[in-house]
Subunit: 286 residues, 4 copies
C-alpha cells in the first residue's frame, strides 16, 4: 500500500518466452515506474497471468493513450487485459437482508476510507436498515422479494444497478438466490459471502449441516456468483475453531466474524484488481 | 449458548478434596439444573477455580436467597465468589477516540443482540462519532483530554461512569492513557484492546515497532487495565500473517480486523463471567 | 498435564438434576483428589458427558475396587462408563504404506515419551520401513494387500492386532480401505487421518479435488473408522492456507504437515480418554 | 513447484525505472523461459528485490556463461546478486542437542526427498542420536561443549562444517549459544529455531516466561543467527493457542509442533533462495 496515484494493469495470455520483458519493456520505454508487480504461470494449461501497478505521473501520457499504445503489445501476445486508474473510485452496490454484521463492517471500512469506494446504493428485501444506511448519506432501496415477484424484483435490482452505473454488486448476507439472468449479466462482478467452507455445506443452513456432521472448524467463502448455486470461483476463505459445546446458535455467532472478514478481504482483492478469473478458479495476487 | 435464564456462579478458593461435590451438592439439594460447568486447578499455587451456570427456574428461590444460603458453603471453602443473573443486562461504557472499527463492530453486535448488554453511554475525547452514536439512541459525551486537563478529564469520565451505574468500561481504541486513580478505581472492570501481541511492542506505535523488527505475524491483545501500561492480565489475543510487502499502513489495516475481533471476544468472556483474574493472569472458561 | 498417576473416569448418561454432585460426591466420600474435570450437556438429546481425573494415591483402594463400588452410582444414573489407569500404557498398532511423515512423527513422539504408549507393532502393505521400525526395537509385519487377497490380508491384520493385545489401531496414511468386518470389530478404536477437510473431498485424491475446485485452504481430518468410507466421527481437524501458485504436489507437501499434526493431536485425545463418541459425532474434552 | 531443472536468480539493487525490463529483457534475448518470478520494492529506502526461476534447458548456455554475460547487467544496475542451479544439492549441516522432534522431522523430509538436500553431517554436544543418524547413512560427530572448552568446541564445529563444504548450518534445537566468531563467519547461512514468538521472550526458558506472563498464544521463530542473541533477521514465525489449563510442560509439548514446522518452512525458503536479507529484516518470496 502506498499513497501514489497509479494505474493497475491486469492481463492473461498464452504462456511463451519473453512476456514479462515485452510488457515491462513497453512500460520502461515510457519511463513508467513500476510500484508492484506479480506474475503467475499456470503450468497445466499454459496460461500466463500478471498484475502491474504503474505510478501515474511517471508516464508521459494519460490512460486513454496508454490503452491505445499498449494495444499493439496486447495483440501480439493475444492478451485479455484491462487497466484501471486508482483515482477513479469503484461504484459498489450492496445487497442485504436482515443481518447487520457485514453491512456495519463494510460501512465502517468505507467511512474510514479503508475501502476507498463509492457505495452507490444499498438494496434490501427488507426495510430494516433504511434509516441506518440513509444516515450515512447512502441511498437505500427496498425491493421486496416474494415467491411470486422474483422476476420483477431482480429486474428492479438490475435496473437500479444500471441506473447508478454500478461496477460491483456485493451480496452481504443477502438471503435470496439471484435469478440466472442477473447472474449471467455480470460475470466476475457479483461477490457473495457463503457461510461455509465450500465445497462443504452448499445451499441452505450450512451451520446446521456442520453441526450435524460434527466438524471441528467452520468456515466462510467469498466467491463470484454464477448461475450454479455456491459453485462460482472462490476468491477467499477462512475458518474458525469450534467444539462439541458449541450449538448451532454459537456457530452462527462465530461464523459472523469470519463472514465479514472474508467478505471484506475478498472485496478488497476484487476492487484492487488482484483477482483474475481462470475457468472456475481464481488467481489472487495479494 | 442456550435460551434459558440462568445464574452464573464464579468462584475461586484454596484447593482441597471435595470442592466440586460440596458446591454441586448444594445446588442439587435445591434441584438446581446445571447447564454448564467448568473447573480448573492451578497446581503451582494450589488454587481452585470454577464457573457454573444454573437454570434460574429450576431453583425454588431467587438470587438473594441463593446468596444468603450459599454463603455458608463459601465460608467453609474460603471462597471468593459472585453470582450473576443472565436477565440483568450489564451496563457498559465505551471510550473511543477517532478510529471507528471497534465502535462500529460493538454497535453491530449490540444492535443484533449478539451482545445482550446496555451501552450506557459512549465517551470520547473527540466529537467525531456524536451523530453516529446518538442515531443509535445511545448518549454521547465529549470529554476532551489535553496535556493540561488530564486530572479533570478523567474525573469527569469517572463521574459519568458512576452516574450511569456502569459495570464495565471498554477502551475501544481510546488513544489516551487513563490516570492511575481511574485504573485503580475499577480493577478487573476496565478492558483495553492493545494493537500488538503483548508482551511485544508495549506502548506507542506498536505497528511501527513490528515493522522495524521484521516480524511475520502481528497481533492484538485484550487485557484488563492496571496502573502499569499494557501490563495488565491478558484475556484474549490473536495474530494475523503479514509479509515483507506490507507497509506500516497495511499493518494498521490488517490489525484493525484482529483488534475488533479480539476485543469482542474478550468483552464477551468478561460479560459472561468467564474470566477469573488470578494474580496477573486470567482463567478464561470458554 | 501433571506428573501424578491418576485414574480417568469417562461417562455419559441421560441428563438430570444432580449428576455432578452424585459422581463427585462418591469421589469426595473416599477422599479422591480431582485433578481435572470436564462436563458437557448435549441440549438437543438430553445426554450428559463427563471426564474426571482422580489422583490414584488419594483413594484408599485400587481400580478394581473403584469399579466395584462405583457400579451402584453408574446403575442409578444409567451410565455408559469406563475408568483407566494412567500407569497402564495403551498398546497401539500402527498401519502404514509408503509415506514416512506420520510414521517418523509418531516414532519421535514415542521416543521422547511425549506419547507414553507401547507401539506393539507396525504393520505395512510394503516393506519399505522394516529396517527403520526395527531399528527402534519395534516389531514390523509386512502384510501385502492385493486385489485378490484382501479378506486374508485383513484377517491377518486382525490376528496380529489381537495377538499383541492392541488397544488402538492407527492408520498413519495407510492407503488401503479396511474391510467392513475389521471396521466393525473395533468401533471407536481405529483412527484414520484423511487428507482433506471432511466432509469435502471424500475418497481418493483429495488434493486433486481441492486443486480442481480452487479452494484457498486445504485440510486434514482425524476420525474414527467406520464401515462408511470417510464418514466416521471426527476427532480433530485443521487447515493450512494455499494459493493459486500451489500445484497439487505443493498441496501434498503442505498437507503432510497438517496430517501428522492432526493425527498426533487426535491420537493423544483418544489415548488420554478425552474423546467420547456420541452418535456420529465426538465430545472432545481437551 | 515443478519438475524442471532451473536456475534461480536472486538480486537486489537501488530502485529505478526499468529494472524488470532490463533483467527479463536479458533473459528473453537468450530465449530463457521464466518459470516463476517475484519482485518487491522497499519504498522506505528505495531498494529493489527480485527472484527469478529460469528453465535451465531453455538457455543456450550453462550457468558459468550466464554469470559472465549477466555481470554487465548487474554492474549497470549496481546489483548484489547470485544464481543457483536446482540440480546442485545444497549441503546442510544439522546441529542438535537432546530433543528429537526437529531432527526426526528434518530426516523424514530428507528421506522422502521433500527436502532435496545433502545432509553432510549431524553434529551434537551429546551422543544420544549417534545410532539414529548413522542408521540413515549420515555421518555423526559428537562435539561436547563445556563451560571450559567453548572456543575449541566451536572451532571444531567450524572445521567440520568447512571439511564437508557445508552451505547451511541448521540449529535444530541446539541448546548452545554459538561463539561470536562462528556467527560472524557465516552471515545469512546459519538458521536457528527459537521457541518463542520473537521479540517476546528472548533467551532462556521462553515457555516459562510465557507462562508467567499469561499469554494466550505461544510461538516459534526461525531466524538467521547473528552475534546478538535472538536478534537476527526473522525468516518465519507461527503461533499456537494455549489456555489457562496448560502447564509449562504442555507448552513445551505444543511448542514442539510449531518449532519443527516453522524450522522446516524457514529452511525450505532459505534453500530455495527465497530469502533475501535486508538489514535486520528479510524479504521472503514464497
Amino acid at each position: 500500500m502506498h499513497g501514489n496515484r497509479f494505474y493497475t494493469l491486469t492481463a492473461s495470455c498464452p504462456d511463451q518466452v519473453g512476456i514479462i520483458a515485452r510488457v515491462t519493456g513497453f512500460i520502461a520505454e515510457h519511463k513508467g515506474w513500476i510500484l508492484e508487480s506479480s506474475f503467475h504461470a499456470d503450468d497445466l494449461d499454459g496460461r500466463y497471468f500478471m498484475r502491474i501497478e504503474v505510478k501515474a505521473d511517471s508516464l508521459p501520457f494519460q490512460l486513454a493513450e496508454f490503452r491505445r499504445r499498449f494495444q499493439a503489445v496486447a495483440d501480439e501476445l493475444k492478451m485479455d487485459w484491462r487497466i484501471n486508474d486508482s483515482a477513479v473510485k469503484k461504484r459498489v452496490v450492496v445487497l442485504v437482508s436482515k443481518q447487520e454484521h457485514c453491512l456495519y463492517d463494510l460501512l465502517a471500512r468505507w467511512q474510514s476510507r479503508e475501502l476507498d469506494i463509492e457505495i452507490a446504493c444499498v438494496i434490501s428485501n427488507h426495510d430494516s436498515f433504511k434509516g441506518f444506511v440513509e444516515w450515512h448519506g447512502i441511498p437505500f432501496h427496498h425491493v421486496p422479494v416474494t415467491p411470486d415477484n422474483k422476476a420483477a424484483a431482480y429486474a428492479e435490482v438490475q435496473r437500479l444497478f444500471e441506473e447508478v452505473h454500478g461496477d460491483t454488486m456485493v451480496l452481504a448476507r443477502y438471503m435470496q438466490i439471484l435469478s440466472p439472468q442477473l447472474c449471467a449479466a455480470y460475470p466476475g462482478r457479483i461477490l457473495n459471502i457463503h457461510h461455509s467452507f465450500l465445497p462443504s455445506f452448499v445451499g441452505a443452513k450450512p451451520y446446521h449441516q456442520a453441526y450435524t456432521r460434527g466438524v471441528k472448524l467452520i468456515g466462510a467463502t467469498c466467491h463470484y456468483v454464477t448461475e450454479a448455486l455456491d459453485q462460482g470461483p472462490i476468491i477467499e476463505q477462512d475458518v474458525i475453531r469450534i467444539d462439541h459445546s458449541d450449538s448451532v446458535d454459537d456457530m452462527v455467532r462465530y461464523g459472523k466474524d469470519i463472514e465479514k472478514t472474508v467478505l471484506a478481504r475478498g472485496l478488497r482483492y476484487h476492487l484492487e484488481d488482484r483477482v483474475l478469473v481462470h475457468g472456475n478458479k481464481t488467481v489472487v495476487f495479494r
